[in-house]
Amino acid sequence: MSIKKTDIAYISSLSKLKIEDIEIDNFTRQISDILEMIQQLEKVDTDGIEPMAHPLNMKQRLRMDEVTEENQRDLYQENAVEVEQGFYKVPKVID
């Protein structure tokens, strides 16, 4: 199954990835190969089969409603490049 370059461009923008022009042909070919391999799934009859989201048959555990975290802003922000007055900063967004 061939995927078009325009599809790659759209999917890339959805996932905030940029594929450079020099890479795009190779990339498109590789993704097409992968999708072709995945196509094999079409062969199987899965009528009436439940999708399996988890390998174990478990239900969600619940935790008590209590505050267990304390303020560690300075520690956590050590990994952030751009921080001012405790805020994270990003290029301005226009709403």
Binding site: L62, R63, V67, D95
Partner: protein, 479 residues
């Protein structure tokens, strides 16, 4: 062409748990930026969500309150999109199998009839953080304290047919979540937010028109006005042969208009899929039963009880029960003073509420305990002070925080109810106004009010007005 409006409301209620939905961070409002954001809230590499039990209980309470079905098995799904205040690059929400679905409530439509509005679903999700655009010059400031706060998203069927109905529905949901104590309903703080979906269709047509979404309406008034504006805007476009663009809009209350948002959020394909870090939420009947037994009395039941047990007018009962804090106050007052329930009701609906509004305070902030309030009303009933004086005493109680009797004594406000004290003043008044006395004797009955007013003036309003009235008539007659 006659157009009909179709409105659906999506309400986001912040659940009033102590900790967040998937992490143990505090949910307190107003903390300094990023001091309530744990590694889980920040979406650090390797962190995982664990579900807060209380949010499940709260969602079930809501579901029961609107006669909805509670899913025995519901799934958390990831809603994937990029935005700086969404740390993981996805929001954990619910998509195909929400915890609550198929509910309804009743509002009064424009003709005063009861109208049933369907609630399609209510699901659990986490809130995003805040983007602050005007803090820094070239950058947007991100505060993630709010990221991970539990939300209950309540979606109505598109069955609202006017801005007024939308407002009524929103008010009803507001009342319910406050009654249930699952949300504080504080729209200023953003704990209760409303988005409205508005579209027009030709009258009696089946097919719905293109809808626009108006986001983040944070008052009942704005919901009504924004929808009204949007209706008019769409009607003008359609009548001019133009097409409605499906888009997200914001309401500007300063100019009473909606405008299109400039971000491209609505173009997103959210690629919902079940969150593999969370397992299916299973709720059994015994849990639902337990929660059902803990539900508080609802509005309609309360009104009936006030009418039946306390004997007050239904209209007044409804007004009091409308706000849970006022209802509680009322009941506490009655529990210590039950000889004149209608007086309690009237005073709450007039003096108490207007004092709250004037000072922009809640009933708790006003600082007059139910016991003190009861005492004040007791003093009216036992004739110590007149109703008019009582209003002044009440104001002193609010501002000086003193006891009722202390205020009455220190300001010498006791009602004058002894005939022997009143008669001399009456005589003085009658002597001072012979012309008016003549007019009265001639038949102008209204002059009596003038005399009463004069007596009240001379007694700084402390004379018992009905007694004055009685004695005046007697004195005039006897003379």
């Amino acid at each position: 062409m006659e157009w009909e409006v179709v409105i659906g409301l999506e309400i986001h209620a912040q659940l009033s748990c102590k900790s967040k939905i998937f992490s143990g961070s505090s949910t307190n409002f107003g903390a300094e930026q990023n001091t309530q954001a744990s590694l889980i809230d920040l979406g650090y590499p390797g962190v995982l969500p664990v579900l807060n039990q209380e949010v499940v209980v709260m969602a079930i309470k809501f579901g029961l309150a609107v006669n909805a079905q509670i899913s025995e098995r519901s799934i958390f799904a990831r809603k994937n999109y990029f935005y700086p205040d969404l740390p993981k690059g996805y929001q954990i929400s619910q998509y195909e199998l929400p915890i609550v679905f198929n509910g309804s409530l009743e509002i009064q439509d424009q003709k005063g009839a009861q109208k049933k509005i369907g609630i399609t679903r209510a699901h659990l999700e986490e809130d995003a953080g805040k983007s602050i655009h005007d803090k820094f010059k070239k950058t947007t400031a991100i505060d993630l304290n709010r990221a991970g706060t539990p939300l209950l998203e309540i979606v109505s069927e598109p069955e609202l047919s006017s801005p007024e109905e939308a407002r009524a529905y929103m008010q009803k949901i507001h009342q319910i979540v406050k009654y249930l104590e699952i949300c504080d309903g504080n729209m200023q703080e953003g704990s209760f937010r409303c988005d409205a979906n508005v579209s027009l269709k030709p009258k009696n047509a089946i097919k719905l028109g293109t809808r626009t979404e108006i986001k983040n309406l944070n008052s009942f008034k704005f919901v009504e006005k924004a929808i009204a504006y949007e209706m008019a805007r769409q009607e003008e476009l359609l009548n001019g042969g133009k097409v409605i663009v499906q888009e997200t809009r914001l309401y500007d209350s300063n100019i009473d208009e909606t405008r299109a948002m400039r971000t491209k959020e609505e173009e997103n394909d959210y690629r919902y899929f079940p969150d593999p870090d969370l397992l299916p939420l299973e709720i059994d009947q015994s849990m639902i039963k337990e929660i059902r037994s803990q539900l508080p009395e609802f509005f309609e039941e309360k009104v009936q009880r006030y009418v039946n047990d306390f004997g007050i007018k239904e209209n007044d009962a409804a007004k009091i029960a409308n706000t849970i804090e006022i209802a509680r106050y009322f009941e506490e007052v009655i529990s210590v003073f039950d000889s004149n329930n209608q007086l309690v009701a009237s005073w709450i609906l007039t003096e108490l509420l207007s004092a709250m509004n004037r000072n922009d305070l809640t009933v708790d902030q006003l600082g007059v305990s139910p016991k003190s309030f009861a005492k004040l009303l007791q003093r009216i009933t036992d004739g110590t002070i007149s109703g008019k004086i009582a209003k002044e005493v009440f104001i002193s109680m609010i501002h000086e925080k003193k006891d009722v009797d202390d205020i009455i004594q220190s300001q010498g406000l006791e009602q004058i109810s002894d005939e022997r004290d009143i008669v001399p003043i009456i005589v003085e008044v009658l002597d001072s106004f012979p012309d008016q006395l003549e007019e009265y004797l001639d038949g102008k009955e209204k002059i009596l009010d003038f005399f009463v007013g004069q007596v009240m003036q001379r007694t700084q309003g402390r004379a018992n007005p009905s007694l004055v009235n009685e004695i005046l008539k007697k004195t005039i007659k006897n003379n």
